[in-house]
């Protein structure tokens, strides 16, 4: 049996108390939400914080709040709920797709959206669609709160710009523009409890149903130290009329935009080839959606 090392446990009732406790711990504390990543790392002896600060009893952090032209998703919301809310499925289908392939049903009932972000795993499922849709996140400490673009949050595997006294409180997603569509595909050896070999999230916006592409985001995951933009693919798409030929060209460019490594799950060469396939498939699905949307 894998045992957990000893630690203290705090369960603040609100955010300001949580910030105070975390600041007082001076880097020896860790936030626990779902614990599906943190407790595994603690059992393996990879991290040993002296105190865990639970955000599980803080009101407002486990909900989705629709606002005027955006939604706020509390960081402690479990991944299963992203697959259950009709609003997410309807308005942010790409996020729904990514949430429904994360871990297993059992993991999804504990793992949180915030945890999937702050752990900064290169193969995490939620960041690619969130970055593609331009999500922002809120970070709070004792002194105040800041809002930053999610894509500026990640530095590398396990590394982010979060300060040791900051708490990720939630994610802000703007309402998708008219005539936009997105798709996320994860390639793994099996369908559950799998870390992606390659995953791609594509999001495109047209000026009208049969118009030109005014914005394109192609996010590649598991092929670099963090989720990256397929820069040359995006450039090729913007300003053009979407055709199969254009999508094929963009997909081909995307495979040159990544810098994967060989590992137990797949070779770099295979990953590049799969980036091309998945980029093509996600762009085709995104386009179909964009033509239909409103």
């Amino acid at each position: 049996m894998l045992l957990l090392p000893r630690f203290d446990y705090e369960e603040p009732k609100d955010l300001s108390e949580a910030c105070k406790i975390l600041a007082g711990l001076k880097g020896n504390g860790k936030i626990i939400a779902g614990g599906t990543d943190l407790l595994v790392n603690m059992k393996k002896g990879l991290v040993s914080p002296s105190c865990l600060v639970s955000i599980g009893r803080i009101p407002g952090l486990s909900e989705i709040e629709p606002q005027n032209s955006s939604i706020f998703i509390g960081s402690n919301l479990i991944v299963a709920k992203l697959t259950e809310f009709a609003l997410i499925r309807k308005r942010y289908p790409m996020l729904y797709e990514a949430a429904s392939v994360l871990g297993s049903p059992l993991i999804r009932n504990r793992a949180t959206i915030g945890g999937n972000i702050v752990t900064a795993r290169p193969a995490a499922d939620l960041p690619p669609p969130l970055i593609a849709m331009g999500a922002k996140i809120k970070l709070k400490n004792k002194r105040g709160e800041r809002e930053i673009e999610l894509e500026k949050f990640f530095k590398g595997p396990g590394e982010t710009i979060i300060k040791q006294d900051e708490i990720l409180t939630g994610i802000i997603l703007d309402e998708p523009p008219m005539f936009s569509g997105g798709s996320y595909i994860k390639l793994g050896h099996r369908k559950a409890l799998e870390i992606a070999i390659v995953a791609v999230a594509s999001f495109i916006t047209l000026d009208k149903p049969d118009g030109i592409i005014v914005d394109a985001k192609v996010i590649l995951s598991s092929v670099a130290p963090k989720a990256i933009h397929a820069v040359s693919a995006e450039k090729t798409l913007i300003g053009e009329k979407p055709t199969n030929k254009l999508i094929e060209k963009a997909a081909n460019l995307a495979s040159g935009d990544c810098t994967p490594i060989d590992d137990i799950r797949g070779s770099a060469e295979y990953r590049c080839a799969m980036v091309e396939v998945l980029t093509k498939r996600t762009l085709t699905a995104a386009l179909k959606q964009a033509k239909k949307s409103r």
């Binding site: 045992l3 626990i32 779902g34 049903p105 059992l106 009932n109």
Partner: protein, 157 residues
């Protein structure tokens, strides 16, 4: 330092003093002597430790007992009604869905959660629902058949 927590396990209330580093699996097995919940991998991969926590099946090896304070928990011991097996348990016996038995409590609880939400699941939905529960005897086919049979049986009642 130990903390006092309250749990409702299989409709029975408990007050227990626990150290923060003990998991829900440990408390159920070691303090409450409910040995039906198994610990396999201890890292959320195998599902042998599945319990239903506030209506949702979870890996109890990745839940701190202190996090479960105030929660309602169902373990495999709470599934049968006295000496009468639950229709899912009956179907597991009938269809030979149990070999070594180690995954069975988790499989039954994942199946129960599925059938409560979705009484008439497709084969794919069943496979998806038990995808976090590993059976190393590889008896998946019979497990899926048993859940299908249980779904029919429960509909008739």
């Amino acid at each position: 330092m130990k903390r006092l927590i309250n749990l409702i396990v299989n409709n029975k209330a408990y007050e227990i003093a626990v150290a923060p580093n003990r998991t829900l699996t440990q408390i159920l097995r070691e303090d409450l002597n409910l040995l039906g919940t198994k610990e396999g991998c201890g890292i959320g991969d195998c599902g042998a430790c599945t319990v239903i926590l506030n209506g949702r099946p979870v890996n109890s090896c990745l839940v701190l007992a202190v996090q479960a304070n105030g929660c309602n928990i169902q373990t495999i011991e709470g599934v049968a009604d006295g000496n009468n097996l639950h229709p899912i348990q009956e179907a597991f016996v009938e269809y030979g869905a149990i070999q070594c038995g180690f995954c069975t409590p988790g499989m039954v609880l994942s199946a129960k959660s599925l059938l409560e939400k979705n009484p008439k699941p497709t084969e794919m939905e069943i496979r998806e629902a038990i995808s976090g529960n590993l059976c190393r005897c590889t008896g998946y086919q019979k497990i899926v058949e048993a859940i299908q049979a249980a779904s029919k049986k429960m509909k008739k009642k």
